[in-house]
Symmetry: C2
Subunit: 428 residues, 2 copies
């Protein structure tokens, strides 16, 4: 197709008229579509239903170390749960603590602990005048919400195709002692879908932070969430890379089964160095008598090991692929070559990240909404909800059916074209 940027005003006006008519037709359909959140669909949730049967009143309630999972105790998780989560995160069980039903809480808690207690004896951040976090953008809105809620200043770091701009990261981290962390989704990133290259991971691990309590907040949320069997990204294990680089304590890695088993009733974990884990446990021992060990055992009995997880994730992929492909096909058919937007074709994760022409994202999302389709708010993928280019839109294809996704993507492409044409006309 021809770049819209080469069209004459007259051509654009004709186009606008026909797109407007199309949009009105779409509006008249009274659609109700939701591409706003990375929520698994029913077919995915059904995949884990048998997990509800692996622990019944007839089953043994003992963990592998003999502990009765029904009772109090075991602060950091039953051994087999640590093993399973370690396999998922590609680290070893001695680096792992098991938490509750989701990793968001663990991340909030980790930042909160740094605020009130301080990390490994460093000054609690609430006693400091200034605390800053680096935020690769576009990124995950809920990460930014955590740091914003604690009054932490957020600094945008552009994302390249192989991860965050490491020159900039190194500059900030190695020079400014107020920089205490960076939010990372290293694999199938939310929302771009890209994975960090080995070089990026190694440069992350080799940072020489000005702040002793600087940490990588390594949200490995999509570590096993591939879309394809034959095209999978692989990232280096950050725990051992940090060890090798002489920075063993510099990372907190987070993961969960929220998008593997049940979104509300999963099992979350943190992986970190021995010193960090001891530090965390000092607080945990005040905070809890232990997390839900019955659910831990349920997960282990259902998934068994990494091979079990992988087999299960292949079923997820079979459900997710058609939805992603429906969107990508429509984007390709409708927008390729028009020069009014770009997108990355992800190999895993939960999102397709779309970059509209500068200054168009808010309007596209608004037009979609007026035609019955909810998208993640424009700007949500940036700290403070402010996308300086007003360009990025996160598409979450997981919840609707492939047919709905096809329809939703058509409407989305229509709105992109309409808003872009209007923008181009304005600029004339």
């Amino acid at each position: 197709m021809k770049s819209l940027k080469n069209l004459t005003k007259a051509e654009l006006l004709v186009m606008k008229e026909s797109l407007t008519a199309e949009y009105k037709e779409a509006q008249a359909k009274g659609l109700k579509l939701d591409m706003s959140r990375g929520k698994p669909g029913y077919a995915q949730l059904d995949l884990s239903l048998p997990m509800l049967d692996v622990l019944s009143s007839q089953d043994d309630m003992k963990a592998s170390d003999g502990v009765d999972v029904r009772n109090y105790g075991v602060l950091d998780g039953i051994p087999e749960a640590k093993k399973l989560m370690a396999e998922m995160m590609e680290t070893t069980p001695e680096h792992v603590i098991i938490f509750g039903n989701a990793s968001l809480t663990v991340m909030y808690d980790t930042v909160c602990r740094a605020m009130v207690k301080g990390l490994l004896g460093e000054t609690p951040w609430c006693k400091l005048d200034q605390v800053k976090f680096l935020c690769p953008v576009p990124g995950y809105d809920r990460h930014f919400a955590i740091t914003e809620s604690f009054g932490i200043e957020m600094i945008n770091i552009p994302m390249n195709s192989d991860g965050p701009d490491m020159d900039l990261v190194e500059k900030y981290v190695n020079e400014d002692p107020a920089v205490k962390g960076i939010w990372c989704v290293p694999k199938y990133a939310n929302p771009t879908g890209i994975s960090y290259s080995d070089e990026v991971v190694r440069r992350m691990a080799a940072l020489k932070p000005a702040a002793k309590d600087f940490r990588l907040y390594w949200d490995n949320a999509y570590c096993i969430h591939h879309l394809y069997e034959d095209q999978q990204d692989h990232i280096l294990d950050i725990i051992s890379e940090c060890e090798k680089a002489g920075n063993p304590d510099m990372v907190f890695e987070f993961a969960s089964t929220s998008k593997v088993s049940f979104s509300g009733a999963g099992m979350a974990a943190i992986a970190a160095s021995k010193a960090n884990l001891e530090d965390i446990k000092q607080t945990m021992t005040i905070q809890t008598i232990g997390h839900d060990k019955i659910n831990q055992l349920r997960h282990v009995k259902f998934f068994k090991d990494r091979a079990g997880l992988d087999a299960h994730m292949r079923k997820h992929a079979a459900v997710m692929r058609p939805k992603f492909e429906a969107v990508l096909q429509v984007l390709n058919d409708e927008l390729d070559g028009l020069d009014i937007g770009s997108w990355i074709v992800p190999r895993g994760g939960y999102f397709i990240s779309f970059n509209a022409m500068e200054g168009c994202a808010k309007e596209i999302v608004a037009r979609c909404k007026e035609a019955g389709m909810v998208l993640t708010g424009a700007g949500a993928t940036y700290p403070y909800g402010k996308d300086p280019q007003d360009s990025n839109i996160r598409i979450a294809p997981s919840f609707p059916t492939p047919e709905e996704m096809h329809e939703a993507a058509k409407l989305f492409a229509l709105c992109v074209k309409l808003v872009s044409v209007e923008k181009l006309l304005q600029a004339m």
Copy 2:
């Protein structure tokens, strides 16, 4: 029996000799007994086993409002879980938020929120030079551990037979703006077993705090944990009493099913005013996408309503009563009239609180340990682990069998006698 305090030195020496011999015999038995923690026994855990069967892969996964409990969402709990916990706490569902697997975490989180975010717009406590909590003593060690971990100064408040010394509470709360809270276990208190009288509850509700962000931290942990069908304590509903007194925002009430269903996999809740709940939810929405709704539904399907809870707790009582009675019988048989210790006969809860002669508690606990019996550390029932009288010992009869409890109580009484006789001799 005759008060030991009236015995002559010669009589005491004879007694000491025979007690020492008895103690050596006990030591030789190589006992392994644990009366240290309020842990349910196996028979109690078995009572809830059928709860594991009420939600299987064949069951409907929808909450009463149509929400799929397997997916993300529902910040404050499914409606039927709020209703159940409201019935348990004797309040109404609109006062309730459902949390995760145990109430300790909720209490920690509530104090932590006050530290970093502040309550209802008041200054976060981490920005203040001094924050104080009142601690009725003896009390619950894990409450004190929370406040201590945040550097909050703790002030001992003596417990009377109907609750904390309210003259003292009123003096501190109404005069000192640094006093931000009081830890209360209003029913079958940990460890004394006493319940607050209506007058005490009303005086609590009618406090006129110098600090706007003063709160009652009302840990209603044993609200339905009666030992007897015909002798039950009843306390006034603190939420409505605070409303009536014009202090609707002055209380956070906590409860859980940890000692009703499974200790590690229960369902916890907070009850508070509308303004407090909105304040909490503002933080929660950053902190979590929601707690485990599958477990919420499981609890509701198993217990159904307050009548179901009560019927279940009668079964718990049948298991617990013989253990309590075994201890009380031995204490009565062995120590009554000797004037070397006192104890309260509780009608519910998880503990028997024993007051030894001043200066004897640590030594009694040590002697028990040397003969193979673990008790909660002496002093643990006081802030900073410091019992100024070195007198209080918390006995937790729930975990061992009644036979073990009988044996444990015999050993305990023996150690009390031996240490007391030694103490009396020292003083001569």
